[in-house]
């Protein structure tokens, strides 16, 4: 299936969960927020949330910031 992760199209295996996706991207679930088709997930749902063809996934985290630049 095709999914879009942070604006980038990717081919993914069927029945991929959010937790598995984070794993393949070497991201730690406790350091990120995940939004799927504009819905923000609870961290507890990462493990069992199945991704679907066409899902638009945003993965965000904290970066250095001020006072913005």
């Amino acid at each position: 299936m095709k999914i879009v992760v942070n604006g980038e199209q990717r081919e993914a295996a069927e029945s991929l969960t959010v937790a598995q996706l984070l794993d393949t991207l070497h991201l730690r679930s406790e350091q990120v927020a995940v939004e799927i088709n504009l819905k923000i997930l609870d961290r507890e749902d990462f493990l069992n949330w199945n991704l679907h063809d066409g899902d638009k996934i945003e993965i965000l985290s904290f970066i250095g910031g001020g006072s913005p630049t």
Binding site: N6, L27, V34, I40, L60, S61, G64, G66, S67, P68
Partner: protein
Amino acid sequence: MNQDPLLIAGRTFHSRLWVGTGKYQNFEETRKAIEASGADVVTVAVRRVNITDNKSENLLDYLDPKKYTVLPNTAGCYTVEDAVRYSRLARAAGVSDLVKLEVIGDERTLFPDTAGLIEAAKILIAEGFVVLPYTNDDPIVAKKLVDIGCPAVMPLAAPIGSGLGIRNPYNLKIIMETVNVPVIVDAGVGTASDAALAMEYGADAVLMNTAIAGAKDPLMMATAMRYAVDAGRLAYKAGRIPRKLYATASSPIEGML
């Protein structure tokens, strides 16, 4: 200074200098500068993670959660919708309901859109967020933000990153006299004397990023800011002498030949 804690929404902070984490060369420099500043509140931004570089590190690995309160901001948000969305993402990415709310009105000045700010604050407070709003040096807006439930206000000293220092000390003083919550002067500080002045005026804390990160020696400036904020706070509490036009001798006349 631990006998003089800062209380906001049931939380206790021991440093009155808060710092941003942007514009540093790397995370190690960020960590060292924060440590030198003595700050226990650090602001961060929320952005897409780098999914192409597996080795990219996370800022959170450099911020001991036992030492620091991470305060996410909504920097870069120009609409109420974006500010609300980023606040929710920040809450999902982190561990607390704290947000430094910014709704930016204009790219050139980065001044807040105060109408949008109040609207976004209302939405987020209803959702249980603890909203610390980055606002203009406008006492009326500050009052409105407190009235809708903000437990502190963060008026600017000058445009973000400008280093101009406090442009309108009288408005800041009016804000401090108008609201019954902590006032944190945010943005525009250029050097140590600016931070000391803000504290001498009666600010409860000062938040800065560029003044430290952009200095030739960020670690040294972080230390300078720490002393400046402490000095300003102590001077405020000690109570300065009144200004007089003419001299008053401090050595006695008595006993002179």
